[in-house]
Each structure stands twice: as structure tokens, then as C-alpha cells.
Amino acid sequence: MTTRESASGAIYDLGYQGYDGPRLGRSAAITTLFWDSLRASFGLGRSGRAKIIPWGLTAFMLIPAAVAAAIAALVPVGGASPFSYDNYLFGSAPLLSLFVAAQAPELVSKDQRHRVLALYFSHALLRSDYALAKVGALAAALFIVCVLPMLVLFLGAVLAAADVAAAVGDQLGNIPQILGAPLIYAVPLAALGLAIAAWTPRRAYATGAIIAVFIVTAAVAGIVEQASQGTLGQWIPLANPFVALDGARDLLVGARNVDAVGTRSLPLWIYGAETLAIALAGTGATLWRYWRLDP
């Protein structure tokens, strides 16, 4: 590489320089897209307005856990906290639904609407790489949103105890749940949310459709369940994806959540299977959509 220099040594015009450095190829392109999309899930590197919804919802997720931890620390007598690792995520279902409804379209709608997708697909990655990087980024974002309150509950339990070391020991058994439950929630929700969002370039439609699937199905399932009798009624809650996810979480823990016995009376593996099916079907539908899409 040369630069043109005048006699005095001052650089006049650098001219066009080629690039002989490393080209990291497809894996670097996928990693870049994943990290950029994960940042976009929280509005990082975007305008202040883009941060309001993700940060607001994350804060609302944290507040109950933080308040419970604070009370436990200040009032040592303390009865049982209303929040536990078992019920926290299921109780946050509306917030998680809103997070997916707001941020899944943020990750994919613009690329279709403004046809940036044609540029992505003409770069060093495959269509399937794009789809998986986006699902992965949203899943990672949801994992963060879910794991933060679990960590607050953990810290609350540890710091409120008289003997911190003993408390840490007591809590060790909860580690699989603290990390596993957020994963069980994050992956299927991301896959399902993105599958819906990828279907339209219009962000508002995508948000509406996700809310319909996540919140309306839960509400309808609840109403129908009340009205129906007998064994059929046991199956109706499966229409609510969060019932399936929490059943899968029960499966991980190996015990039924006592708060939720009423809505989940089927064998736990059924909920686990549905959770897996949601994750696979959502990812598959997203891949299929991008496979077929003409950018």
C-alpha cells in the first residue's frame, strides 16, 4: 500500500487504498449481526426513545423482586415472600409478552420495510444465518430480562440471612432453576415472537399479532377453562404458551409449582414437549420465511 506524497513530505491526497487485511468471513458476519441485534433489543446505540420500552419493561420485571429483597433485608422477622423462583417468571408473563411484542419487530421489521434485507443477503452470510442470529439475539435479550430478577431474589435471600455463607450454601440447589428457568422461557418466546414478526414488514401489525397470540390466547384459555368441565378442561390451558413454559420449568425443577396446580394437571412431560415444539416450530417458521422471502 502506498501513499502519494509531495516533495516536501506532506500528504496531499491519500488516493484510494485497497484493503489487504484479514477477512473474517461468515462467522464474523453472524457474530456481528447477533451482537448488534442484542444491543438493538435494549435500544443501545439507538435513540433515547428506543430505550424507553425495553428498559421500562426490564425495570418493571425487577421492581417486585427488588422490593421483596429490600423488605426482607430491612424487616428481619419476615414472613414468606410472595415471590419465589417458582412463580416469578409465570407472574411476569404480561411483561414478557410486551417485551417480545415491542422488540421482536424492532429486530426484523425495519430490515424488510426498508429493504435492508437485500443488502444483508448480499453479504457474507446465508439467509438461515440471518434468521438464527435474530432468534438468538432476541432469546439472549429475554434471557437477560428473565435472569436479572432471579438474581435479585438470590441476592435478597443471601444478604438478608444472618449467616451469609450458610445462605449461599442453602441457595446453591436453586442455581439450575435460576439459570435454567430463564432459558426455558427465553428461547421459545423468542422463536415464536420472531416467527410472527418476520411475517410482515409492518411493525404495528407485528406487535398486534404477537400481543394477540401471547396475551389473548392466555385470556381466552382462562375463560374457556372456567366454562368447560371434565378431562377436556385439563388440555385447554395448553393454549396459553406460558402455561407450557412454566410446566417445562416444573419439569426442570422436578416439582409442580404449588401456586399453579389448578391450571396444570397433565403429566409434566406434555408441557415440556409443547415448550420444545414451540421453540422448534417458531425457529422453523422463521427460517422458512427468510428462505422464501424475496428481499
Binding site: 477477512r23 468471513g25 461468515r26 426498508h114
Partner: protein
């Protein structure tokens, strides 16, 4: 190894629409004009070369690699400027071009440096830190060119690069394209239906029509002398044509111009004498050249005066 090679490349949309019909090409580096009417198959060809579309049958290779099997490896070294808008409105040109550089596999710091350099080359300065949504069409075209150049491609595919630009913007974009091809030494394919623009920047021409290759040759061979003399007069072109025919030449009238077959130097004297004898006001005498438009012109032959 040719830069681009296609063999019996065919693309159909549905049952009836044939965008590319058994196209065979071998293209060497240079500034290559890909010309054809709207719907001739130019964009389809570019998209197949990029791996954005799969061919119905036949094969295409770029830099010796098959486009359907080695998409990401090829695209590391290819820049693409699509015909349509393709920019997100809410990020700045700097952020976007850096991002696209990294999507081509550049390390972060290299992507930043190259972004600053290509944005300077395409002529975006202060405005590069503002969101793209507020840019004019001309500035957006420059950003599209910059993202196609950021990774120093070996091959640049430009689809209608002057789309939507005003005359001054067109001139600037064409100058940029020409510099990219000559000064930067990047092999460039420019698809356009505007023959005048192709003539200004390209060295080699691929003319396609209805998905078939019409002609592939250096630009110069398209605009050679035709062996026809055009004699433009103020009026009475008919009389001149009749006189020249009587003098033994083959002459035809086209408006105020008399076209004379001119295999050697003799017709010059005959024309001079005829114009003088008839007392005509002579505007110009010129050797006719082929024009690119002639490639796509099949109907209108000038009427021959017997």
C-alpha cells in the same frame, strides 16, 4: 479464469415469464456495461450472481466459484448497490457503513477506518453523522455506493446507480463509478437502461434483450464508423438525394439529412459538386457512427430514394 461465467443460465418466474434464457457469458475485469430495456433480465442476472436468487437451470460462477454453493465466500469480495432504496432511516451513514463492513467480514477497527475513507471518497462529510432518513436521494445513493465499497471488493455490481438522481447528481455518480473502476481498479458491472450513461463510463458492453445475450464486445466496436456519410442541408434534401442517386451513389433521406453510402473517398467530391450545383445551404458532412440505440432498433429503416 473469467471474472464471471455463466452457462445456459435460465431463470423463470412461474410458468410463463422467462427472465433469463440460456444465457452464456464470459466476462473479464473492467468497467462492464450491462444494457437492456426494463425487464430484459439485468437485475435478475445481478441477483443470481449475488446468490440472492437461485437459477432455474444452468450455472453461474463468480471468480471461479459456483454462486449457489459458495455464496458467502463470493460475497466477501463482492459489493452490491441495489436499484431500490435499501437504507435504514434511523442510523447514521457512518454507523451503517461500518456495520455493513463488518457484515463482509472486516474486523471492527478495519471497518471503522475503511468507512471513514470510502465516505470521503463518495463525498459525504459532515452529514455522515446524521441519520440517513434526512438525506437527499443523491446522498442516499452515495451511502449505497459506500457500503458496496467498504470492504474493498474485487467485483462491484451496480444496479441502475443513477436511479432517481437529478442531472448534476447523475454526472457526479457516473464520475464516481468511473473512478472506482479506473483509479481504484475494481471490476465493475453497471446495469442500466440508459445507454448514454453506459457510453460515458464503460469499456466493455453486454447487451441483453429478453433474457438472451444480444452482443458482448468492447464499447468501441459498438460505435465504429458505419461507412455512411451524413449530409445535412437546410432544406431540399429530396432534391439532393435524387441528384446523388443520378450520379451513381446510394442515397437515402432522413429528415434534413441525406445518408450516402461511402465505401471510399469518391462520394465526398460528388457530394460537394452536387451541393454546389443545386445551390444548397450545407450544414454539415459527417461520418456516421453506430450508436448503442441501434442495437435495440429493428424497425425504422430510412426510405431509400430510387
Amino acid at each position: 479464469m473469467p471474472l464471471i461465467e455463466t452457462r445456459a443460465l435460465t431463470k423463470r418466474y412461474g410458468e410463463h415469464v422467462v427472465a433469463l434464457n440460456e444465457l452464456n457469458l464470459e466476462v473479464e475485469p473492467g468497467i462492464i456495461g450491462l444494457v437492456g430495456a426494463n425487464g430484459a433480465g439485468k437485475s435478475t442476472l445481478l441477483k443470481i450472481l449475488l446468490g440472492l436468487l437461485d437459477p432455474t437451470s444452468g450455472s453461474a460462477e463468480v471468480m471461479g466459484k459456483d454462486v449457489t454453493r459458495s455464496g458467502p465466500e463470493i460475497r466477501q469480495f463482492v459489493g452490491y448497490l441495489p436499484e431500490h432504496d435499501a437504507l435504514p432511516p434511523d442510523v447514521s451513514a457512518t454507523e451503517f457503513v461500518t456495520h455493513m463492513g463488518r457484515m463482509s467480514g472486516l474486523p471492527r477497527s478495519a471497518a471503522r477506518e475503511r468507512t471513514a475513507e470510502v465516505l470521503r471518497h463518495v463525498g459525504l462529510y459532515e452529514e455522515r453523522y446524521r441519520p440517513i432518513g434526512g438525506y437527499s436521494t443523491g446522498m442516499k445513493q452515495r451511502v449505497k455506493l459506500a457500503q458496496a465499497l467498504v470492504h474493498d471488493p474485487k467485483l462491484l455490481l451496480l444496479d441502475e446507480p443513477t436511479n432517481g438522481l437529478d442531472p448534476a447528481g447523475r454526472d457526479e455518480m457516473l464520475d464516481l463509478v468511473k473512478r472506482t473502476g479506473t483509479e481504484f481498479g475494481i471490476a465493475t458491472v453497471v446495469a442500466s437502461h440508459l445507454l448514454g450513461e453506459i457510453e460515458r463510463v464503460c469499456t466493455f458492453l453486454l447487451a441483453i434483450d429478453a433474457g438472451k445475450l444480444l452482443r458482448a464486445a468492447p464499447l468501441a466496436s459498438f460505435t465504429m464508423h458505419t461507412g455512411t456519410l451524413g449530409v445535412e442541408v437546410e432544406d431540399r434534401a429530396d432534391e439532393l438525394a435524387a441528384r446523388l442517386t443520378a450520379d451513381g451513389l446510394t442515397a437515402a433521406v432522413q429528415g434534413r439529412v441525406v445518408l450516402v453510402d461511402c465505401p471510399d473517398e469518391k462520394p465526398y467530391d460528388v457530394v460537394r459538386d452536387a451541393v454546389d450545383d443545386l445551390g444548397l445551404a450545407l450544414v454539415r458532412v459527417e461520418q456516421r457512427r453506430h450508436r448503442l440505440e441501434d442495437l435495440f432498433r429493428t424497425d425504422e429503416q430510412p426510405a431509400v430514394v430510387a
